[in-house]
Symmetry: C2
Amino acid sequence: MTYSLTPAIQDYLEVIHDLSKHDSKVRITDIARKLNVAKSSVTEAIELLHAKNLVQKERYGPITLTRNGEREAAKLKYKHLLISKFLRDVLNVTADTAEKDACLIEHVVSVETMLALIQLLESKNYLDNDIDIEEVKILLSTNSLSNLAPGTKGTIKRVEATGELRRRLMEMGVTSGDDIQVKRVAPMGDPIEITVKGYNLTLRKNEAAAILIEIN
Amino acid sequence: MTYSLTPAIQDYLEVIHDLSKHDSKVRITDIARKLNVAKSSVTEAIELLHAKNLVQKERYGPITLTRNGEREAAKLKYKHLLISKFLRDVLNVTADTAEKDACLIEHVVSVETMLALIQLLESKNYLDNDIDIEEVKILLSTNSLSNLAPGTKGTIKRVEATGELRRRLMEMGVTSGDDIQVKRVAPMGDPIEITVKGYNLTLRKNEAAAILIEIN
DNA sequence: CTAATAAGTTAGGTTAAACTAACAATATTA
DNA sequence: TAATATTGTTAGTTTAACCTAACTTATTAG
């Protein structure tokens, strides 16, 4: 039930992502320090992220990103990185301004523009070889089915599941390339009703989370 | 006393600018329709724009942009136009996405990045000849002195005044190229105390409005 | 293993930007 | 010109994102 994240909430996600590189258990105080906000503001924001299934947290406990949160944070990180690189290497903007502008533009830029930007950077050979740009393109252009609002139409791009879960989804007829529509989403995003190949399916949230959709 | 405008308020300014091309007397209802908000929201926003000296309006009367409002609106228009052109012509993004992204990016992009973007568009000969790009650069990189917060340091880029007003400003020692610092600003932005060439000057708002500052 | 310190939460307040509903002023038209 | 319609304002809510201050729970140091 992510639907859409405000810039402010995206900033929290990004900071949590950064901090969890040093220590996967992130604390409220560190987030507050990084974002220059009061602890109470963080508590509130974390509640929201929790409700949207982007972080795990219990009372007085540390914060960890969920798989979903990880994905959304990674999207932001790559947007930031690519925009910043473009500003520095193509436009020759100072590093400082590039960072600041990237921080703001990353929250509003469309996927289409991001893909076009990647193409430009690729054509000029400005991309580091240590990032798998094809994976980044897929990351940016897809959403986990568990994040989509009722009514959304798209195409299954990938089923990120193995073993039993994968088998079950295949059996239901969930395969890459299929068109899909989200019919209904229960409170808390579980379960999710969808239509694939004319069939109505009801998926558990953890099943839906494994399915990557490219929105039309 | 503009100091800074939120994206929402910038949108109002832009719409007023657009509408005033057809008819210089803009009405609340038209703005509401264009922005898809309630009339009461517009009334409120206009009050703010009025307080910031960007529009003129009296009770139940039509809205007109002030000189200041005109300048700020023009900045936004050019940002929009240039970003959109870049997205379409350089990145080959669809016209629709280019418009949407430009609408969002224009509110957050820095002047430095805008100037760099212009340079790129110039070097590729993508700019229409009917816009005076040197004037646009000056427009984007300057602010009217009447909009600056106390403490701001900058350089006088131009004195946009003629006749008596120009003569008086020259006499005070206000000339292009001088460094300037805003010392104090009275409530309602009138008068404004500044330092130029070591001298303390007190300017009326209409005098300050004519002085364009490039912020350091 | 307490006592002091730090971390997290709760309660209550503020601001910007929206909203609806009711009302007042202005325009239109019959 | 009176009746109607349109336009603009006011009052009162709502939501997101912040805040401070007071409090509770954890952690750390003697």
